[in-house]
Subunit: 117 residues, 2 copies
Amino acid sequence: MSEIERCEFLCVHQDTVEKVLKQMPSDEKLYDLAELFKVFGDSTRIKILYALFEAELCVCDIAQLLGLSQTAVSHQLRILKINSLVRARKDGKNVFYSLADSHVRQIIGQGMEHVEE
Amino acid sequence: MSEIERCEFLCVHQDTVEKVLKQMPSDEKLYDLAELFKVFGDSTRIKILYALFEAELCVCDIAQLLGLSQTAVSHQLRILKINSLVRARKDGKNVFYSLADSHVRQIIGQGMEHVEE
DNA sequence: ATAACATATGAACAGATGTTCATATGAAAG
DNA sequence: CTTTCATATGAACATCTGTTCATATGTTAT
């Protein structure tokens, strides 16, 4: 038994650990949850989402608004779309993006409350 | 004027953009918000936080519970602590960690709702 | 004091992530 | 149908991030 493993069998509070284990969601769910937060965890994407709080915007609008390149915005919108955080509506040459659902507002709102303390 | 810039001055919906700009939080706040979500955006840290939903746990408990090395857990707890998501209580050789406040539960809860759809 | 133990920390390394550049796609106008 | 424009996408590159390994710190028991 290696040094590292030793600790795990001596100091562990077994009853507590077992109680907690029963309540844990599946690994898959926890992985998905982390993936979701990862999407929010980039300031470019947060800025895009926040911009969409107020209005439906095309790629160009977002790029100018935030001082970013069209390419960078497009790449990030792709990620937001894949994760169902934004929706796309095509209108001629333009593609207008908007928030996908109210969860996005709620999650960002909660985060902002925490940050503002 | 380069090809990329051209788009920004032709297709932009100026009035909408200006309206949105007025409502945007400061860059600093948006950066902090992204940093916060970045902390939630890792499955090891999410697992640790979820484990702490149920009970106060020492480093060893968490390591065994999640099948991780003591070192990895310790590093992640450090990040969680710096970002005020967990609190540490020292008791002899052990250090017990617990959730810092209810925001953590709320943010994770909202995220989970989104994932479970 | 010294040994055993729980936790923390620094350096190194591998893998992930975001931007840029070049180019492709698809739609409207001439 | 060719050009122009708005958007999308792939590859390359630099940076960031998480784990491991080695070791340090601080606490309890002998």
